[in-house]
Amino acid sequence: MIQANNISLNYGGVSALKDISFQVERGEIFGLIGPDGAGKTTLFRILTTLLLADSGTAIVDGLDVVRDYKVIRTRVGYMPGRFSLYQDLTVEENLSFFATVFGTTIEENYHLIKDIYQQIEPFKNRRAGKLSGGMKQKLALSCALIHKPAVLFLDEPTTGVDPVSRKEFWEMLKRLKLQGITILVSTPYMDEASLCDRIAFIQKGKILTIDPPEKIIADFPYKVFAVEADNNYKILKQLRQSESVRSVFSFGDSLHVVFKDVSKIEKEQINAELKEIAPTIEDCFMALANN
C-alpha cells in the first residue's frame, strides 16, 4: 500500500533522511517511532506529495508520489502534527469545507466518521479554535477521513493530548483499520508503539529496525533489570561509571539497567533492590539508538 525505496533528502547540507526503505501492507497500522527531529515529518511530507525527495522513489496506493501526485491527493488523508484547520470556522463548517474540497458531502461518508464525529457533534456550532485539544484531534481526524481515503497519514496525532483522549484515539484507529484503511502513524511516545501492527524505529533520518513490536521485544538480546531506590540519581551516576554496565536509563520512578555480563552482577555494589523485568519497547529503542 505504501512503498518507500531508498529515499534520501538533504536540508541545506544536513541529511534529513538517509536511504529510507520500508513497506506498509493494506489494512496495517504502521508506526514510525522516533524522537523529535528524527525525520518523521519530512518523510510524511514526501509520502503525501508535499515535498520532493533528492533521491529514491515512493509509491502510495499503487501510484508514484512524483508522477501521480494529483491522484494521490484524492486518495490519502493527511493529518499534520500541528492543528491545521480553520480556527475561525465552526466544527461543522470545517468538515463540510473539506468534504466539498474533495467533491463529496458529509452525508455520503458519514458512516466512516460517525464514531468519531458523534463525540464532537454537540459542539458543531462552536468555532474550531475554541475546542479542547482532544476535540480538535477528533475534528482533524474527521476532516482527514471525510473523503474515504485508502491511506491515512497521521503525523504525531496524540502529541499534546491528554492520556484519556490518547487512549480513545488509538481505539478509533483500530476501528478504522477494521474498515480496511491503511494507517501510517508517527509518534514520539513509546507506549503507543506496542499498539501498532509493525513499527519502524527512526533516528537521525535513518531507520534502525522494522518489525512487529512483539518481535522486537522478543528479539531483545539482553536482560533488563529495574532498580528502585530513594536516591535514583546517585545510583544512576554510579552505574554510568561502572565497567560492567552496558546501559542505564531512568524510566519514571525506576532505572532500567542492562549489564554486559549478567553473571557479574553479584559483584556490583548497589544499595538497592535489583529486579529482572521484561524489556519494553523503549528499552529496545534505547539499546538500538545507542549502538
Binding site: T48, T49, L50, K70, R73, T74, V76, Y78, P80, R82, F83, S84, L85, Y86, Q87, D88, L89, E93, F97, F98, T100, V101, F102, G103
Partner: protein, 364 residues
C-alpha cells in the same frame, strides 16, 4: 468550487470583527483627516518687520500683509540686527525690511527696494513665505499705480494656476488617497490573508487535497477586489459630499482602477510567495509601501527628484495611477489622453502576475 470558497472567505472576513471594521473605517478616516493635515500650504508665518521709514505707505503695506492671512505679525524691531536675532532664536520665520526713504523714493522715481529674508531651515516654509510676500508686494505696487498714479517699475509676475485655480492642496491630495486605499486593500490585505493561511498550516492541509491552487488564490483575491471597488465608490462619494470633488468620468476611473487592482494584487501574491510568516510579509510591505509612496509623486513632484530617483518612479505602478486619478479629477481627462498610462498599467498587471505564477512554482 469557486463559489463555495468565496462563501468561506466572506464568512471569515465578516467574522473577523476587527478587519471588517477597519475596512470600513479606514477610507472614512483617510478622507476626513488626510486632506487637511497633508497640506503644504503655509499659513501663520511669523513675520518680523523692520520699518525704517514709518510712513503712510509703509503702514499701508504692513496692513496689507497682515490682512492676507498668511502672516502673523510677530514684532516690529528697531534694527535688522534685532530681527535677525529673533530669527536665530527661532521666534520669527521671515523678515521684511522697509528702507528709510521708502515713501519718498516711490513718489520720486517709483522705485525702491525692500528686503525679504526668510529662515530657510524649513525650505518649503521659507520658499513659499518669500513667494507669498513678494506676491503681496506686487499687489501693493499695482494698487499704488491705480490709486496714486505712481508708475512703479516692479516687474509683475502673475502666475496662473490652471486646473486648480485656488491652489487648493486638498483637491490635489484626494485622488492620491484613492490610490493608497486601493493599494492597501487589494494589494496588501489579500497577501496577508494568504500568508496567514500558510502560517496557520491550512495551506499545507489544502495542498493534500485535489483543490486547484489557482482557484484557491482567486477565491482569496475576489473578495478584496469587490471590497476595493466598493470602498473606492464610497470614498468618491465622500469626496463629492465633503469637498465637492467630482471626477471627469466615473467609467474611466473604474476602468483604470480595475487594471490597477489586478497589478497590485499580483504584487501582493509575489510578496506572499516569498514570505513564510505574517511578520516577514508585514515587514516587506512596510518597506515597499514607504518606497512606492515616496517615489510616486504623491507628496512631492517627480520632476524635482534627482534623476536616479526619477528612473525608479518609472517602475512604480503607483506613479501612473496617481497621474491618471489626478488627471481625471482635476483636468477631466478621458481615456484618449491617458492611453499611455493605460498600457503601462496593463504591462504592470501582466508582469506582476507572471512573476506571481513563476515564484509560486519555484516555492513548491
Amino acid at each position: 468550487m469557486l463559489r463555495y470558497l468565496l462563501e468561506k472567505e466572506f464568512k471569515q472576513i465578516f467574522r473577523n470583527a476587527f478587519i471588517s471594521k477597519v475596512i470600513l473605517v479606514l477610507p472614512v478616516v483617510y478622507m476626513l483627516i488626510f486632506p487637511w493635515v497633508v497640506n503644504q500650504e503655509i499659513k501663520n508665518l511669523k513675520l518680523s518687520i523692520v520699518d525704517n521709514d514709518r510712513s503712510t505707505f509703509s503702514e499701508r503695506l504692513i496692513h496689507k500683509i497682515t490682512a492676507s492671512g498668511y502672516f502673523h505679525l510677530f514684532e516690529y524691531t528697531a534694527s535688522s540686527a534685532d530681527a535677525i536675532e529673533s530669527v536665530d532664536a527661532g521666534k520669527a520665520d521671515i523678515i521684511l525690511e522697509i528702507p528709510r526713504d521708502f515713501e519718498k523714493d516711490l513718489y520720486r522715481s517709483g522705485q525702491t527696494n525692500v528686503m525679504i529674508s526668510a529662515n530657510a531651515v524649513n525650505g518649503m516654509k521659507g520658499g513659499l513665505g518669500s513667494v507669498y510676500l513678494s506676491g503681496i508686494l506686487n499687489d501693493f505696487a499695482s494698487e499704488l499705480t491705480a490709486a496714486q498714479g505712481i508708475r512703479t517699475q516692479s516687474s509683475i509676475v502673475e502666475p496662473q494656476f490652471k486646473f486648480n485655480p485656488t491652489l487648493d492642496y486638498k483637491v490635489f491630495m484626494i485622488p492620491a488617497i484613492f490610490v493608497m486605499l486601493l493599494t492597501l486593500l487589494t494589494g496588501f490585505l489579500p497577501a496577508l490573508n494568504i500568508v496567514s493561511e500558510k502560517e496557520m498550516g491550512t495551506t499545507e492541509q489544502l495542498n493534500v487535497t485535489p483543490m486547484n491552487k489557482a482557484i484557491f488564490i482567486l477565491a482569496k483575491l475576489i473578495p478584496y477586489w469587490i471590497m476595493g471597488i466598493l470602498i473606492l465608490t464610497i470614498t468618491m462619494g465622500l469626496a463629492a459630499l465633503l469637498y465637492g470633488l467630482i471626477p471627469g468620468s466615473f467609467t474611466t476611473i473604474y476602468i483604470y482602477s480595475i487594471v490597477y487592482i489586478l497589478a497590485v494584487s499580483g504584487l501582493g501574491i509575489v510578496i506572499s510567495n516569498y514570505s513564510d510568516t505574517m511578520q516577514q510579509a508585514m515587514f516587506v510591505m512596510f518597506f515597499l509601501l514607504l518606497i512606492i509612496i515616496l517615489l510616486s509623486g504623491l507628496f512631492s513632484p517627480i520632476s524635482s527628484m534627482p534623476e536616479w530617483a526619477q528612473v525608479i518612479t518609472a517602475f512604480n505602478p503607483l506613479t501612473y495611477f496617481i497621474i491618471v486619478m489626478r488627471a481625471i479629477y482635476l483636468k477631466g481627462s478621458g481615456m484618449q489622453e491617458l492611453l499611455p498610462q493605460f498600457f503601462v498599467l496593463c504591462g504592470f498587471a501582466v508582469a506582476f502576475n507572471v512573476w506571481a505564477v513563476l515564484s509560486y512554482k519555484k516555492s513548491r
